[in-house]
Symmetry: C2
Subunit: 442 residues, 2 copies
């Protein structure tokens, strides 16, 4: 028999209420999250609540309370109290998404303090921290003190979330993972926002991806997620805006780790692919504008100047050095992990690439060793793909459309090429171009 205590009785009533679809009030949600974090509420009751939330949903006030209860389970850094303005940025993840890497030194070069507690890659999307760890010496596991020191030293920092941030989220996520409750807008929202808001930035820009390589493929789902993430921040003290950006093809040419570092540096040198620059610039403008020190026009000019003057590049060197990395990689890409061999994929026909399933492109890249299918997989930083041609591009039969960069592991080259071509569609007509920035939500 399971023990039944007074605490169980309250939990039982709350579970009945949520099962019937009724919203829980703030005290009830706080009681549940606090109790579960302290192990006073057992997993079998939490999993019942998670399933009830996953099926019956949550109101916007419930989500905001859930998010804030989860963030209060751990440290709150209140960085907005330490700086006039402190910016944060979050992406829902995609293939070739190096926006955080380009954005950080770029806005820092405009005098904006920015820091992110970021994640590692899992599944088809890459992880910002994994990419940074391709840089020899780079330390992405900073203590809170080292995080703040890096901000003081150079104005920008990216590190893994520390143990103290939102422990409730770690416990809840582990349970969601084994109880079929991962797919739930309110639970996804609270998980993301509890970690982000715990830092206590002045402003947070959300890059919510949409398309075949996004967490939410469908536009209306992406928009609902963006709105939900913004709603969950109500009353938190952090100003949150979102851009819905395209992830129906890889962002930029490079997907992997070392190769994305190279592409990042090309971007801060002003030579990056147009799509990476456009998506990054849109977010950088919002970060500058939310500070109140810039309007859209002056933000655009400041960003342009930071790039053309070489300050963004210089900031990148300072940032890498501040986190222990070798800044010489900026001038000598051969200091980064190098692919053992490169396999060219050639167009089987002339015409247009009409579509590329970007989820498949991401999983392909992961399978090369560039990402993780399980949390304890080891990354091969040299492995990756260069998507020289992407959806909408014209190709000639026999022309190189991609370069598969192999890391340490031996692979069947013909099988790789064949698998690559399985997720690329060719046709005679150029497909309609998708906008890179779909919508701005506040």
């Amino acid at each position: 028999m399971l023990p039944r205590t007074m605490a169980d009785y309250s939990v039982y009533e709350l579970l009945n209420k949520k099962r019937r679809g009724g919203p829980l009030d703030a005290a009830e949600i706080e009681f549940f999250i606090d109790g579960f974090t302290k192990s006073a509420i057992p997993e079998y009751q939490m999993s019942a609540l998670l399933m009830a939330i996953a099926i019956n949903g949550m109101t916007a006030p419930e989500m905001a309370t859930l998010t804030q209860s989860m963030l209060r389970s751990g440290e709150q850094w209140h960085l907005r109290d330490s700086y006039d303005y402190f910016a944060d940025k979050h992406s829902t993840g995609g293939v070739g998404d190096k926006v955080s890497l380009v954005l950080s030194p770029w806005v820092a070069a405009c005098g904006i303090k920015i820091g992110m507690l970021s994640g590692r890659g899992l599944g088809h999307t890459g992880g910002t921290l994994d990419k940074l760890e391709a840089i020899p010496g780079f330390n992405a596991r900073l203590s809170r003190a080292d995080f703040e020191k890096a901000v003081a030293d150079c104005g920008c920092v990216i590190s893994t979330s520390t143990e103290g941030i939102a422990p409730a989220d770690k416990k809840i996520y582990a349970l969601r993972d084994v109880t079929g409750t991962v797919e739930s807008l309110p639970l996804i929202t609270a998980s993301i926002m509890s970690k982000k808001l715990a830092m206590g930035a002045s402003a947070l820009i959300l890059d919510v991806k949409t398309g075949s390589g996004a967490f939410m493929r469908n536009y209306s789902d992406s928009k609902a997620l963006a709105q939900s993430l913004i709603a969950a921040a109500a009353g938190s003290g952090t100003r949150v805006e979102a851009l819905i950006t395209d992830m129906d093809r890889p962002l930029g040419i490079a997907a992997g780790n070392a190769n994305e570092i190279i592409e990042t540096i090309e971007c801060v040198k002003g030579k990056g692919p147009a799509d990476v620059m456009e998506v990054t610039r849109a977010q950088a403008v919002r970060i500058l504008a939310m500070s109140g020190r810039f309007d859209d026009a002056s933000a655009g000019k400041a960003l342009h100047d930071a790039l053309t003057s070489g300050r963004a590049l210089e900031q990148t060197r300072k940032w890498i050095a501040a986190q222990g990395g070798n800044p010489k990689i900026v001038d000598d890409y051969s200091l980064l992990p190098q692919p053992r061999t490169v396999i060219e994929v050639k167009a089987p026909r002339s015409g247009y690439i009409t579509h590329m399933d970007t989820y498949q492109a991401g999983m392909f890249t992961v399978d090369l060793g560039a990402g993780r299918k399980k949390a304890d997989d080891v990354i091969d930083y040299a492995a990756g793909v260069m998507f020289d041609k992407r959806s909408g591009d014209e190709v000639k039969a026999g022309e190189v459309i991609a370069r598969i960069q192999l890391g340490a592991a031996a692979r069947d080259e013909r099988e790789l090429v064949s698998r690559f071509l399985s997720f690329v569609e060719f046709g005679d007509d150029q497909p309609k171009a998708r906008p890179l920035v779909h919508e701005h939500l506040t």
Copy 2:
């Protein structure tokens, strides 16, 4: 971190499927119930499934599979293979519901073998086993061998469910009790029917109560439960029919334990209250008719003869003796536990009892010591209430409408009378009579 194994992976997919509302197939349900019974599937995954079922419901085939998976978790007695015809009966419970006690010797006196694995009282309803245990010496905890011996000796038996019957139900019920998933038609159905069908009777008559003293107060809920219970037996080999009977006032005059044994014996002597006789006869007719040896008319005649000939009374003596009880109580009620004192409740005005909240009447009886609010409460067999006047009866101011029979515990008599009157409504007009047997479902 929670461990993740191959088994977890399957469970995770099943939980996702049920969360999305999709029906689980038979193998999936069997896998889940078998795994949980053997503790291969942990409570936190089972509670997530229970919540998903409680919210999203189950199809009739899912319910039948769930029921049969739960019954297969333990012993299956297959009694229909040992006897030409073996009958079973189940009631959803009510106040003053002594139908099983009257029915068993009555149909046995007509040559029908009948046996029930019954429950104890919890909450506002009494328990058949508790009532039987008011008889000095009566043993309601029979092994399977003793159960079958009692059938051989006298043709009827009522005992508590043994440990070996549907262990999955015990484990699942304990979890439902603390996870807010008690109120769920498919889970209620599977819980009831897994225990009943494990006995493997030839036929089972379900007495589904409706009204203010019933588990389902509302008629449409009662009917849905009856239909659900019948549907869950599909393919089980036990023929199941249901009668929806009235529980908007106590059944008979007596509610308690010893007092209900006295009323039971009055019934088998042919002197019982008309409502108890009508509800019991309706079920007894179905049990006789389902054997194929009687039609409705000959069943009615056989039951009439068993009563008027004294065979039903003689059968009652044999039955009590077969289960170790003192059969002399049939002729000498003073051998039963006696109330220490009796408090009369008098009508505060003349007119009609227009309604009595029978749930409250049941809870009142429980509070006297006649039932249990918690599973480990001790029963006072002498305590109870005689509802001399019930809904629809005409009363004169100052006339005795009820007698409160106190057991060992001292009580504030004025407070008891005042509380009793709080759930009885009086008026000038006789309320419309409710039928005793509402509907017969097959």
